[in-house]
């Protein structure tokens, strides 16, 4: 059993339908035991840097991967990404961008902000496995075999 406190995935997504579909896809295959969800860019930054509502969060417990939607209220995905890559504490966390079209993916890639992978929504099992494989993070899958 993994440590309860270990966050495996941080999902940054504002659309509740997409959140539910994503969680459904990932949990159905028991891919992750713990997924934290934040609903906009500001909240994502607070979470990652221990600010605001998350000021008492233990920052040493970092997500193993961030699924980051591109278009978010308040602070958009690109800005969140920029902030993460600018801070040594969060720079090494792999980021998978969630986009609604291939065109959006091209836009993000053009910023050269060190995105590790892309998933065109809706997030389904196959795409997620592909993304993880691209990142070379097999351990994310292997360390935590689906728990029956």
């Amino acid at each position: 059993m993994p440590d309860d406190g270990d966050i495996e995935i941080l999902l940054v997504e504002d659309n509740p339908d997409d959140v539910e579909l994503t969680l459904h896809a990932l949990k159905r295959y028991k891919l992750a035991n713990r997924i934290d969800v934040v609903r906009d860019g500001e909240e994502a930054l607070d979470y990652l840097f221990g600010r605001g509502a998350y000021s008492r969060r233990d920052l040493s417990r970092r997500p193993r991967v961030v699924l980051l939607d591109l278009k978010l209220p308040k602070v958009d995905g690109l800005e969140v990404l920029k902030a993460m890559k600018a801070d040594p504490a969060t720079r090494s966390i792999p980021v998978v961008m969630l986009t609604s079209s291939r065109e959006e993916r091209d836009v993000v890639a053009s910023y050269k902000l060190g995105v590790n992978s892309f998933i065109v929504k809706p997030v389904d099992f196959e795409q997620f496995v592909d993304a993880v494989r691209q990142m070379g993070y097999y351990w994310l899958l292997l360390n935590h075999p689906p728990v029956e």
Partner: protein, 726 residues
């Protein structure tokens, strides 16, 4: 007593002898001078008449100068003449006499000597008063001279040939002195030697012999002078192509020299009497000639007459004839002497010149453009009416101005520089667009073309300028410039608007792709969850409904994708390169492998010239057209897809033909419209955007696309690619 008688007798005898000799010498000298003066006067007059008729208009100084220069040239080559003899040609300047040149044994002088004292230069004054003859009078130096004088009315000059009187009577005075002395001595000696009567007789004989010798020498000198003059005259006649003739009135025999005969086309040795010669003259001119001749014989005035003659070769010629009577000692006219010149060519030339001048004058005055002659210093010499009207000046007002004075200040430098180069001969002509200043101060745009007229020796004479009013054109150009500026401003504004609209559209597209998709994802996603999680609880009918919901959602996603692709095409910049069409078609076929793998499709690919176009979008065109062909031949056994190219009016037309379902040409106009479909979705799937995309790409390449089809007989799509580099 005897002594007185002897001295007196001797003196009388000596004085008488000397007197006779003196008169004889004086008469000989007088004749020679008269001959010289007359012949030279006649020669100069002949040359002058000739020049007046034939010297070109532009000769500097005109015919007078031409004549003068010829005569001066002629004289400067000859060395005259008897010691002390001098020839002078002069004219009146007011009350004074001006010598044009003088000519003595030292050579010719052209000092323009002016004699003011009315008591001096008496012979020249006589000649200039129109008189002809000889006199003893004071010359311009105040020396007493024997002079012959002749007027030359043609030139308003006179000619004087003279010798100092001292030269004439010098030897005689010496002789007289000697004779006087001898008389005294003889008288004295006679007292002592009366018996030697013979002595005075011997002395007288000796004196006579000496005097005879002197006279003989003088005669010989006169003959030499005559010969020289004859040769000079002959040379002048030859140089001037002047023929001479002589008509003896007493015998009615007329003799002509070879040149005069030549004017009539007769050989030099021809003999012709007066009647023969007169037969050459045009009948209408004969009477005039006769009248002039008779009057000249009667009055002694030289006659001059131009007559038409018909030459022996049948050609018409015009001769200028002039002549003068000759009198015998009793004052009867015995002969006519004269010269003749063939002036046919000169007459014709002159007529041509006059015609051409008249023509030019009419062009000059009536031209619809301004014409101005300008001196090398820039002064207006001559302007036409049109030019005056353009500038609002009168011709005489312009004559007081230079062209720069009526040129706009800003254009003066440019025009002056070009004009200087023109005068210097660096350029043959120039054109300039410039502003003239009208009399009222307003500016007038003109186009001025100037060239330059020079004398035969290159001396700049005047420029000819053609001036055209181009103010209307300038106004039009100004208007065009203003409109262009306006247009550019409008284009700029419109471009900015379009750019703004494009940005908006981009934002809209982004929004569509992101936000419109979200609900579709939810519809599809939750339907899928339902199908996956509740498979056992749902009936097969429920499952089919859920599947329909999912298909509809996915189809809408595709529609959105295609629509976005289409809108992106409008903005994407084309990058034309040359590429191999066949290779691209092979790639497209490979991509369509999945759809074609289990089909029997025969591809027939013909000759395809390389294409110059944007690779990415052209690949989209080929993909869509080939995919369409594959799709609409579904069910054909075998499906045949033919791809090729042909040349039509120097343009390459590519085509893709299939033997598929085809379509009804009645709906051909809808074929390339967005979301337009000619088949039902249950027959052939599709969004109705593919051909719209193809159409847009081809049009953006400057090309054209069209199709031919019949239901169930297949379809052919043709397209061309224009010059997409522009």
């Amino acid at each position: 007593m005897l002594y007185v008688v002897l001295v007196t007798a001797c003196a009388v005898v000596a004085a008488t002898a000397i007197g006779i000799l003196y008169r004889a010498a004086l008469e000989a000298e007088r004749r020679q001078l008269t001959l010289t003066a007359r012949s030279q006067a006649e020669l100069i007059a002949a040359v002058a008449r000739f020049d007046q008729m034939h010297v070109p208009l532009e000769y500097p100084g005109g015919a007078f100068e031409a004549t003068l220069s010829q005569i001066v040239q002629a004289y400067s080559k000859f060395r005259p003449s008897d010691a002390g003899e001098e020839l002078g040609v002069g004219r009146m300047r007011g009350e004074d006499v001006e010598f044009l040149f003088r000519f003595d044994e030292t050579g010719a002088q052209f000092d323009g000597l002016v004699v003011r004292d009315p008591g001096l230069a008496e012979p020249m004054r006589a000649a200039l008063a129109g008189r002809s003859g000889t006199m003893i009078g004071r010359d311009y130096r105040g020396v007493k001279v024997l002079a012959a004088f002749e007027p030359i009315p043609e030139l308003n000059v006179g000619i004087v040939a003279k010798v100092p009187l001292s030269e004439v009577h010098g030897p005689l005075v010496r002789a007289a002195s000697a004779a006087g002395a001898l008389a005294v001595v003889l008288a004295m000696a006679s007292l002592l030697a009366v018996k030697r009567l013979a002595y005075p007789i011997i002395s007288r004989l000796e004196a006579s012999a000496r005097q005879l010798a002197t006279e003989s020498e003088k005669r010989q000198a006169a003959l030499d002078g005559l010969e020289r003059n004859r040769r000079q005259l002959e040379l002048s006649l030859k140089a001037g192509a002047i023929g001479s003739w002589h008509w003896d009135l007493t015998t009615d025999v007329m003799t002509c020299d070879a040149r005069t005969l030549g004017f009539l086309g007769l050989p030099p040795d021809a003999t012709a009497d007066r009647r023969d010669l007169e037969a050459f003259v045009h009948p209408e001119d004969m009477a005039r000639l006769a009248v002039a001749r008779e009057e000249s014989i009667r009055t002694g005035r030289a006659f001059e007459c131009e007559v038409r003659v018909q030459r022996t070769d049948g050609e018409d010629a015009i001769l200028s004839v002039h002549g003068e009577r000759r009198l015998d000692n009793e004052g009867r006219a015995v002969a006519l002497d004269g010269v003749a010149m063939d002036v046919t060519r000169q007459k014709a030339d002159r007529r041509l010149l006059e015609e051409s001048e008249a023509r030019f004058r009419s062009i000059f005055e009536q031209a619809a453009v301004g014409i101005a002659n300008v001196s090398p210093e820039g002064r207006f010499l001559r302007v036409n009416e049109r030019f005056c009207k353009m500038l609002g000046y009168k011709p005489e007002e312009l004559a007081e101005r230079t062209f720069l004075e009526v040129t706009h200040a800003e254009d003066q430098e440019r025009d002056a520089a070009e004009f200087a180069r023109l005068v210097a001969g660096e350029i043959a002509s120039y054109s300039i667009e410039k502003r003239h200043l009208r009399k009222d101060g307003s500016a007038l745009w003109v186009d001025r073309t100037a060239s330059f007229v020079r004398a035969a020796d290159g001396t700049p004479l005047y420029s000819v300028s053609i001036i055209q009013d181009i103010s209307a054109r300038h106004r039009a150009e100004e208007e065009v410039r203003r409109l262009n500026e306006e247009l550019e401003e409008r284009v700029r504004v419109r471009t900015a608007q379009l750019e703004a609209a494009n940005k908006e559209l981009e934002a809209f597209s982004y929004s569509v792709s992101h936000d419109l998709r979200a609900p579709l994802r939810a519809v599809d996603g939750f339907s899928r969850i339902l199908m996956e999680d509740c498979e056992e609880a749902l009936s097969s009918e429920d499952m089919r409904h859920l599947q329909a919901i999912r298909a509809a959602a996915q189809r809408m996603g595709m529609l959105i994708d295609d629509l976005l692709a289409l809108s992106r095409l409008g903005r994407k910049a084309l990058d034309p390169v040359e590429f191999d069409v066949r290779a691209m078609i092979e790639q497209v076929r490979a991509e369509l492998e999945r759809e074609t793998a289990d089909r029997a499709i025969e591809f027939r690919i013909g000759e395809l010239p390389p294409m110059r176009a944007d690779r990415v979008t052209m690949r989209q065109v080929l993909t869509n057209l080939i995919a369409n062909a594959v799709k609409y031949t579904r069910g054909r056994q075998p499906a045949i897809i033919e791809i090729g190219a042909r040349h039509e009016d120097a343009v390459t037309v590519y085509f893709i033909r299939d033997n598929g379902a085809g379509f009804d040409m009645r709906y051909a106009d809808k074929l390339f419209g967005v979301f337009q479909r000619l088949h039902r979705a249950d027959e052939f799937e599709g969004t109705g955007v593919g051909l719209a995309i193809v159409h847009r790409i081809v049009v953006r390449h400057g090309g054209r696309i069209w199709a031919e089809s019949e239901p169930d007989k297949g379809a052919t799509f043709h397209f061309t690619i224009g010059d997409c580099d522009a």
